[in-house]
Symmetry: C2
Subunit: 412 residues, 2 copies
């Protein structure tokens, strides 16, 4: 079977790559960055084709994620160079001790092995994911959304070209967009060490249900901001407007605001004016306050669980912090949540109680990513608790092993 041949090659390459020195990996990333810049026209041409083929019903946010331009290609190349500059996590000793019996034990970071990334129609993900997996000593199998097939094809060819004389097959981009192939690959824990699904709820559910290898899921970002009665309302307006509108199509964008009743009458009109172009879905109390304004509609119960990924915001008025906490516990997706308040006690309570990968006090949820956190990029943003929560950076693409040196010690 063709899949088998590719998987065996990736596994064999992973064993070799796990022992490559950092210099070689860095040089390869620099070379790929140059190759990308030199072939920008070809990438943009393919991307234009993808955009032309996009169905008319695609949202603006979807189109935005698919779109490449010279600036984004420059950013892709720059990101490769940044990853080359990051410290190599492989071999890093995270714990070391000499036991009383003379054993010398060390916990050392090692590559995961073969990573299978399933991602959305977002071509710049290819180089970012590849570079992080590669720098951490892993090989990677990529399967993107079919709407980016032309852009992906060109980028896959460029990576292939960069490694054609290396004796290594550090990645494979799947160009068969039939769904069946994903199901087949998920049954191969012998050859794939971890699967990272990014995308819609249906994909994540399918992978969770069928994968026989460990999963790092990148689920919905159903992110909330709680605007406390002790909030600085200017700050709250600025943060909410940013978290909702700066790039609404990404998972760390805000979806729902929970507004303390005591400041709602003052805050809501301010925010309404500051978020031109945003459609509101409000609870009954919100509708009372923003009575008759053109961009405000009643929220349906499903809105509280809907990741709009668009210029739409849900708004609910709550009596106090506990009501906000309960709403987040019920509807949050364990991604990113923020509280706006001057009261540190309330902030600490919020941060301790909310079960999410990133919990903010007085800041936009938009910061949850590998770049903003200083991890040098990310393969995704984990919404699960095992292995990693939040941005999946270089270190998170390794696994800790124990190396033990003895002088003939036996167990008594």
């Amino acid at each position: 079977m063709e899949n088998d041949r590719i998987l065996f090659e990736l596994k064999k390459s992973a064993r070799i790559l796990s022992q490559w020195p950092a210099e070689n990996k860095n040089a390869a990333l620099e070379a790929l960055a140059s190759l990308l810049l030199r072939n920008a026209d070809q990438i943009l041409h393919a991307n234009k084709q993808d955009l032309e083929n996009l169905p008319i019903e695609a949202t603006a946010a979807f189109r935005d994620r698919l779109t490449l331009n010279q600036q984004r290609i420059d950013a892709m190349a720059e990101s490769l160079r940044q990853v080359a500059k990051l410290a190599d996590p492989v071999g890093e000793i995270t714990e070391e001790r000499h036991l009383p019996n003379g054993l010398h034990i060390r916990r050392v970071r090692a590559p995961l092995g073969v990573i299978f990334l399933i991602f959305e129609s977002r071509p710049n993900v290819i180089t970012e994911a590849f570079s992080l997996a590669f720098k951490a000593g892993n090989t990677i199998l990529l399967r993107g959304g079919s709407d980016s097939r032309a852009s992906a094809k060109v980028i896959y060819q460029l990576i292939d070209k960069a490694f054609q004389n290396s004796g290594l097959k550090p990645f494979y981009g799947i160009e068969d967009y039939d769904h069946a192939i994903v199901g087949e690959l998920l049954k191969r824990p012998d050859l794939i060490d971890v699967v990272v699904p990014r995308g819609g709820a249906k994909l994540i559910e399918f992978v969770q249900a069928h994968a026989l290898m460990p999963v790092i899921k990148n689920d919905r970002g159903m992110c909330h901001a709680y605007i406390d009665d002790e909030a600085d309302l200017e700050m709250a307006t600025r943060v909410v407007a940013n978290a909702k509108t700066q790039r609404p199509g990404v998972c760390n964008a805000l979806e729902t605001i929970l507004v303390n009743d005591r400041i709602a009458r003052e805050f809501l009109p301010k925010l309404y004016s500051a978020t031109i172009g945003v459609q509101w879905r409000g609870d009954e109390r919100t509708l009372q306050i923003l009575n008759g304004l053109p961009r405000v509609k009643p929220a349906h119960s499903s809105d509280w669980d809907t990741e709009h990924l668009d210029m739409i915001i849900n708004c609910k008025i709550v009596a106090d912090l506990p009501e906000a906490l309960d709403h987040i516990e019920q509807h949050g997706s364990k991604h990113s949540e923020t509280i706006i308040t001057r009261n540190e006690n309330k902030a600490r309570r919020f941060q301790a109680d909310v079960d999410a990968a990133a919990v903010y006090w007085n800041a936009s949820t938009r910061f949850t990513d590998g770049f903003a956190f200083g991890l040098g990029g990310e393969l995704g943003i984990s919404t699960q608790k095992l292995h990693v929560r939040g941005p999946v950076g270089l270190r998170e693409l390794t696994t800790p092993r124990w190396i033990i040196d003895g002088t003939g010690q036996i167990r008594t």
Copy 2:
């Protein structure tokens, strides 16, 4: 449904327990230790009943794992006290930085939540697993092997008694030994955060195939020792005899030795004499060397993948280190592997190449456990790569969250 009520209670308790101070947790563990010692007779009485009900075909190793005696109960109590003395991992800051934009970000250990442990008929696991999960702020759902049901019942009652006035339900021991219940529980990722299966290959496969929540698998320990031609043969004899016979029923016991052909003729008779009571399964060359000795039989091809968990050792003669590495890659279960050699270069090559949780040089594989590594015990020994490899101690029962403090920062 009864399960739902219990799971909701465990989840609610996990939210409360995640914020309990260490002192309270430690006091509860000390109290449980005392309760255990005061009720040793009752436990031993129940254990005797379990042993009497054991089918005649149970192996000596199985019987050993099920057996309690005063010494083992003392060890259980002592282990609870040791866990009380360990540093509380909850709230521990593992990374901290001040970003140029003024954001203060910290990565903090938090409990996993609700843990579902499926374990073998080994009653002392109950208190060890409970204490580690509890100290790391988690609640735990336990499902043991049915052969230990009477012993488990008494221990479950004692833990219940220790927490009866705490307002907390930190654990639940399932006494319904119908298999169907496990399948039902694996479909509840909403209420169970992680499942830890310990036991036979069939159980692990079932859990991997059906669990919708993350799994920390504790698979077979198919452990090897490679005896190099540059080995100290006295040391090799001592280490192999220990790793095979000291407690053959546990997963870090040795199953297969790979012996360099150049020293086989000298080493094998030495080892044979030093392992009275051990049955040998040898390849053709082994049979030649140990010609006609009573405890030596030909190995079947299945033996190389069989975790005997008994006084049986597989023996294969190899030409060199690469042949040993290839055998381990093909047959190892990624648990514990050891090389016996005086040559450091070969040792480092072995440690770099072998993909296992613990890789030893000149020491017994029997050290792979939470106590021996100084982690204060273990909930199991992970043979997967995600989250944790090897002993699952206190820290491994937590998950890292990001806590971010700002002053109104927005993304630009």
